[in-house]
Amino acid sequence: MSAPRIVAVDAGTYFHRTTFSDPRFAPYFDALVYAPELAADLDWMEADCLFVASRQDPAFLQAVREPIADFLAAGKTVVAMGESQSETWLPGVVWHPSEVNFWWWLTPGADSGLRIGATEHGLFKHLTLADATWHHHGYLDVPHGAISLVNRAAGGSILYEDRMTTSGRIIATTLDPCYHHGSNFMPATTRFLTGFLHWLRESLTGNP
């Protein structure tokens, strides 16, 4: 069996280019698809995983809502990073806005308000809660039967894995690591991508 393929959606921004061309991360992405070309060229549907990097123009993903549903129905994986209105193009996603607090960590001893949702999950062999902690852009309801990986103490999830809503797997988050890593800003986002991509690749080979 050939190795699973990950195709990443590239919005053409500087931070996506920096993230996808980073020698630490480039090996994880077998191909890139330029967001405005998602609907015109459906070759990405041959892949095993569609990785939607943070901060896309949602119109291009809304245009392929049905192909994405078909992709999931075929048992494949979609990763949706934050700030791309995934609730408008991905099944089962319910997003709530919340005030983005960029500054909580300036207060000594402050609580980020985030908790690990599933300690035994394979993702946490590769990263810690601190690696998933900077700020988040709203929160998500956890679909019935899905596993929340990072909870908000105040309710809801900022990162979950959903194998129940479709025949495939949806990994949805309100974190935006591709933006911050690609801006050379916030080292936690670099650690997050390092651990997350390692786990994602392993989980696709059936060895999470």
């Binding site: 919005a11 500087y14 791309s84 050379n184």
Partner: protein, 208 residues
């Protein structure tokens, strides 16, 4: 007066300065409408750091023609897809330390009149929001701000020999400070006033 074209960024809340009285001459369009727009209608183009630069660079010939005719381009962000032959990709400072990230004024400019460089170095005590590297300036560009790391020319103005002006900020959007309680809030209104004066000056020079 010719209006100012503002290219709407991706995946972001609308910038707050757009609602201010001083922004009333702005006309907003999606980057994907750029090929259809008659750029000669506009006196200036404002580009956010959250722009699909691949799409912007695909219109490079039309941007060059806009500048040839005396237009003004204000560009924020890290250049990943150079859109003019004289431009080159962003160079980050080598690391995260404060020693690299101090903003130093080199040349006075109306856009930064009364803006304390310390208010650019720090935002709520955190360094690096304003800039973390530079877009290499073409020969003859006038440097306005440098970073302490490698004397990186973060901000510059280039009177393009073939015509037009490029105002370059190699970091996050200059207008994001519009509601900050510091002297950095002066940037957005002063930028709009300067852009307006440049358009008016150019219009006077044009033959009737």
């Amino acid at each position: 007066m010719k209006p100012i074209l503002y290219i709407c960024p991706l995946g972001q809340e609308p910038a707050s300065f757009l609602d201010k009285p001083y922004a009333r001459t702005i006309e907003q369009h999606r980057i994907y409408d750029l090929p259809k727009l008659d750029l000669s209608r506009f006196g200036a183009i404002l580009v956010s750091a959250h722009t699909d630069q691949r799409a912007f660079a695909a219109s490079g010939d039309r941007i060059a023609a806009f500048l040839d005719a005396g237009g003004l381009l204000v560009f924020n962000g890290h250049i990943a897809y150079p859109f003019l032959p004289e431009l080159a990709p962003f160079v980050p400072v080598p690391g995260y330390g404060l020693a690299l990230l101090q903003v130093c004024r080199v040349t006075a400019h109306p856009v930064f009149d009364g803006v304390d460089p310390q208010d650019l170095t720090f935002r709520r005590g955190v360094a690096g929001f304003y800039g973390r590297g530079h877009n290499p300036p073409p020969p003859g560009a006038e440097v306005l701000h440098r970073l302490s790391g490698n004397d990186a020319p973060l901000d510059w103005v280039w009177a393009r020999p073939a015509g037009g002006t490029v105002f370059m900020h190699g970091g996050n959007d200059m207008w994001m400070y519009a509601d900050d309680p510091t002297s950095a809030a002066r940037i957005a209104p002063q930028l709009m006033a300067w852009v307006t004066s440049q358009i008016e000056e150019h219009t006077e020079k044009e033959p009737a």
